[in-house]
């Protein structure tokens, strides 16, 4: 393992932003910075930026989301692990499609599709009282 990777391994960056559209850029910049530390390619860093932005956007568009979005980026030996936590208590992270028209629901689906396509692992963890976690992993050298 090279020096840079070794020193980056197991570093954790945490960020709390208001659940509002104007703060999503900061979340994706933070994730991109950690991805850059791990020596991902420019294309992979762009993938991470977009996936994190889509996850935050999904929270914001979700009826009943919490006041803040918590972003945790863990730089591990061979991957970047990202957790996007919404403390809202209304179940899954996905936007509330019952309140959307067909076009809005289709676009929301596009966001989830992008996350699943651009990241290597994606899972949800739903706590009825604590909120929802979206967990994403991007592996080094997977693409």
């Amino acid at each position: 393992m090279n020096q840079a990777l070794e020193s980056a391994a197991r570093e954790v960056v945490e960020l709390r932003i208001p659940s509002r559209a104007e703060w999503v850029a900061l979340a994706r910049l933070a994730a991109a910075t950690v991805a850059n530390r791990l020596r991902f390619s420019i294309e992979e860093i762009e993938d991470v930026k977009l996936a994190v932005a889509e996850a935050c956007t999904a929270v914001i568009q979700h009826e009943g989301h919490g006041e803040f979005i918590h972003l945790t980026c863990e730089a591990l030996e061979d991957c970047l692990r990202v957790r996007v936590h919404d403390s809202g208590r209304h179940g899954v992270h996905a936007p509330d499609r019952q309140r959307m028209n067909f076009e809005e629901a289709r676009i929301a689906g596009l966001g989830i599709f992008l996350i699943r396509t651009l990241m290597d692992e994606v899972s949800y963890d739903v706590h009825p009282q604590l909120g929802t976690d979206l967990l994403m992993v991007k592996r080094l050298g997977a693409t």
């Binding site: 559209a21 104007e22 999503v24 850029a25 294309e43 762009e46 930026k49 977009l50 932005a53 889509e54 935050c56 956007t57 914001i60 568009q61 076009e103 809005e104 289709r106 676009i107 929301a108 596009l110 966001g111 599709f113 992008l114 396509t117 651009l118």
Partner: protein
């Protein structure tokens, strides 16, 4: 972070919308307004120039899809100018390359308008 929108008239009863910056959940309403205003005025042939767009997410794609849907109701079309590989990749993986005309130059996009 911001998006700059510039609208200009082009020959042949069409308009060019130049976008510059990042299109996301925060900035996409501004793009939606610009495109919507043109369509409300009866402009149904548009070239949207994304050459200076550094980033686009699903909300930005949604704005473009919404604009395309509206102009098609009037027999119009939307062509895109896109040279950034990362932006092109998003259109590729979402399958939107099949519904938009995507061109390397504004000239080519203009000529291909229906």
């Amino acid at each position: 972070m911001d998006i700059k929108v510039n609208v200009r008239e082009a020959p042949g009863d069409c308009y060019v919308v130049d976008l510059s910056g990042e299109i996301d959940v925060y900035t996409s309403p501004k793009v939606k307004d610009a495109i919507g205003t043109l369509i409300d005025r009866g402009v149904y042939h548009l070239v949207i120039n994304l050459e200076k767009v550094r980033y686009i997410d699903s909300t930005g794609l949604g704005v473009l899809i919404g604009g395309l849907k509206r102009v098609r109701e009037h027999g119009g079309s939307v062509n895109l100018v896109c040279t950034n590989p990362q932006i092109k990749k998003i259109f590729d993986i979402t399958g939107l390359v099949k519904i938009f005309g995507i061109f390397e130059s504004e000239d080519a996009a203009m000529k291909a308008l229906v």
